[in-house]
Amino acid sequence: MDLNYTPEQEAFRAEVRQFLDENLPDDIRERVQKRLRPDKAMTERWQKILFDKGWGASTWPKEFGGTGWSPVEQIIFEEECALAGAPRQLDFGLRMVAPVIMTFGNEAQKKRFLPGILSGEDWWCQGYSEPGAGSDLASLRTSAKLEGDHYVVNGQKTWTTLGQHADWIFCLVRTSNEGKPQQGISFLLIDMNTPGIEVKPIIMLDGEHEINEVYFDNVKVPAENLVGEENKGWTYAKFLLGHERTGLANVGQWKAMMKRLKEVACQEQDGQRPLIENTRFRDRLAQLDAELRALELTVLRVLTDKRGPGPQASILKIRGTEIGQQLFEMLMEAGGQDSIAHIPEALELDYNGPRTGSIDATPSAGDYFNMRKLSIFGGSNEIQRNIIAQLVLGL
């Protein structure tokens, strides 16, 4: 047992750091570090830069154009990216649909879809939840009927994150009403430009447009876009959720946030002293720092486990989201009354107008509100605890 990184891993970290130093554009870094409004072009530009370097997919095997990195290397890469102020890569393609296509898709699908995900040319979104099917995902009703060489899709998806930008959506659709609800679900890849698809924005509580409803009205989808077998989609969906949950631990990003929070606590004034000298605030910061360390090492433990991530991925989702939410909450609290103002126009790079308090206070309450989603989506934390209770503890 040795919790230290090996010399090779340290060298790898240095290599990543140097690459980021030299290649992460300043405007992107600034946008990310100031927690300004995310921007599609920025995400695409950064993906292209990584792609050109051969680092487009840190979690993929080499045969599909990935880096072939070990889990520890993947984590080092993610952490360095977050610390440098690189934007998050788009999970929906890289970490969600791609592993499904690699594992369950046919050769033609791998050839057709993986390159666009890797280069960032294709923007993917997720079509899982429906208004009546959230935690109870298996009750989904969006239907796909096979008619000749294509499916006809009807129904509605919701909470579709960044669907307004998407070229493709991977959907769980109902292809059968026989047997248990889980048995009639299929996994379908749908071109967002197909006639009959309508995307409607949902404005979130921070006033931002991040999620959408997606309506399907007699949408014709080529039968060849079915992944794996008809009515086996639930298996693929569960496989994907396992991947999503590991990603949701988000340790790299939280470490970068923790670093920033400590800097903010040193800068913010609490009367005649810096906030960091306020013992109540600092104790809570220390507690959170310790919890983040526990999460970081637990992620490494789970990811280096040769048996692969099982239901204990739920631990990572729960702890990752709870810690993330607390980080944003403390950033808001650090700003105190400076955090109360809502200045949406200040979330753009060129904003020069008035604000309340420091630049860190500006996005802090909005971010905190927005981050309440973390314990709700990707399988709510209540559902994750059910998974632990049932699949790990056998209750």
Partner: protein, 382 residues
């Protein structure tokens, strides 16, 4: 011991409940928030007619001679309906200050104007870097003949841009953290040298950053005695905190009602999600916290008018600590139980959550007030 509202307070409560339900709905509130001023003059005139704006003023100055319990009744209902009008700024904070510290001429000049709804005032006290320390004032008022010249920067001035007049704290002697040496001045918002930046807040209210650059104020605009304003400022803020605690309780009750309704109707796995024990227990905790918060809001209101400094400060800070913590729990869990719907702008629950969050940040968060209680404890045992 008696926790009952008086008959008049009960009537006030009933009529306000009707008003908020019937005339200050979610859509109407949305229109007010997105309007230029961010407040609704017609509603304000309505409040004046109902007698709300002078409730706590002496009868000699067009008031009804009420107390902080009356304010509690008002604020609970405002919390329930998320009313965004400048009641806290104008009536509770500024009105309370003039009532408690102003001279008769100032009371005669200002209080009837507030009561009739014609005048809006705001308290400009907090400063950048002060965080929640009330003594931390760097704004100065320099005597210049029979005038004062005020210079400095104020932050988190609730409804500052909407006010006709500001009550500004400034240092007339002493250094930045001294309790003594503070004075209060009435300053016209439009006076030369006053610069106001108006901001919307996340919960639909307004706040201002205001700078004063050699603003000339005549000596008769001094409120209270020179150098000795701190106790009055502290008391006004305590009145404000008691009001915010009551508002939080109203918002918590509304959150519980909305959440209960949601988990009874939202079905997953073939049953209303309220059938799941984990959600039942969560909802039970939300209910427990709200009932306890209500008790603390009553304690705060009962002590807010008191001149017994130690007992008032302890009660107010205990209340703000616990209400802050419980409002956080109820806000977060109310959103959580609404699932994805809870994080959308269209749900009332999301707006209740935002107000509950910001209430915790105003005039000292739970950490700050726990420190106050803790310091008081040490002083008593030492």
């Amino acid at each position: 011991m008696n926790f009952d509202l008086t008959e008049e307070q009960q009537m006030l409560n009933d009529s306000l409940r009707r008003f908020v339900t019937n005339e200050y709905g979610f859509e109407k509130r949305g229109e007010i928030i997105s309007s230029g001023a961010g407040i609704d003059r017609a509603t304000w005139a309505n409040f004046a007619e109902m007698g709300l704006l002078g409730f706590t003023f002496p009868e000699d100055f067009d008031g009804l001679g009420g107390n902080a319990i009356d304010t509690m009744v008002v604020m609970e209902n405002f919390g329930r309906g998320l009313v965004v009008e400048p009641y806290l700024a104008t009536v509770v904070l500024a009105g309370g200050l003039i009532r408690d510290a102003g001279n008769d001429a100032q009371k005669a000049d200002i209080l009837p104007g507030i009561a009739s709804g014609e005048r809006l005032l705001a308290l400009a006290h907090s400063e950048p870097g002060a965080r929640y320390n009330l003594r931390h004032v760097q704004t100065t008022a320099r005597k210049d003949g029979d005038h004062f010249l005020i210079s400095g920067q104020k932050t988190a001035v609730l409804h500052g841009a909407q006010a006709n007049q500001l009550i500004v704290s400034a240092r007339t002697s002493g250094s930045v953290n001294d309790e003594s040496g503070l004075s209060l001045f009435l300053v016209d918002r439009g006076a030369k040298g006053v610069k106001v930046d108006d901001f919307a807040t996340h919960d639909g209210h307004r706040t201002a950053e205001i700078s004063f650059n050699n603003v000339t104020v005549s000596a008769d605009n001094l409120v209270g005695t020179i150098d000795n304003a701190f106790p009055a400022i502290e008391k006004a803020v305590d009145l404000g905190i008691a009001a915010l605690c009551a508002e939080a309780v109203g918002a918590m009750e509304a959150m519980n009602a909305a959440t209960l309704e949601y988990i009874k109707t939202r079905k997953q796995f073939g049953v209303p999600i309220g059938k799941f024990q984990v959600l039942q227990h969560r909802m039970a905790d939300m209910f427990i916290h709200t009932e306890q918060a209500k008790t603390m809001a009553i304690l705060a209101a009962s002590e807010a008018d008191s001149d017994d400094h130690t007992s008032r400060r302890e009660a107010i800070s205990m209340a703000k600590t616990l209400v802050g913590q419980w409002a956080r729990y109820v806000g977060q869990q109310g959103v959580q139980l609404h699932g994805g719907m809870g994080v959308t702008d269209e749900m009332f629950a999301a707006h209740l959550f935002k107000r509950l969050t910001l209430i915790n940040l105003l005039f000292g968060d739970a950490d700050h007030h726990l420190a106050q209680v803790s310091d008081g404890l040490l002083a008593k045992t030492a």
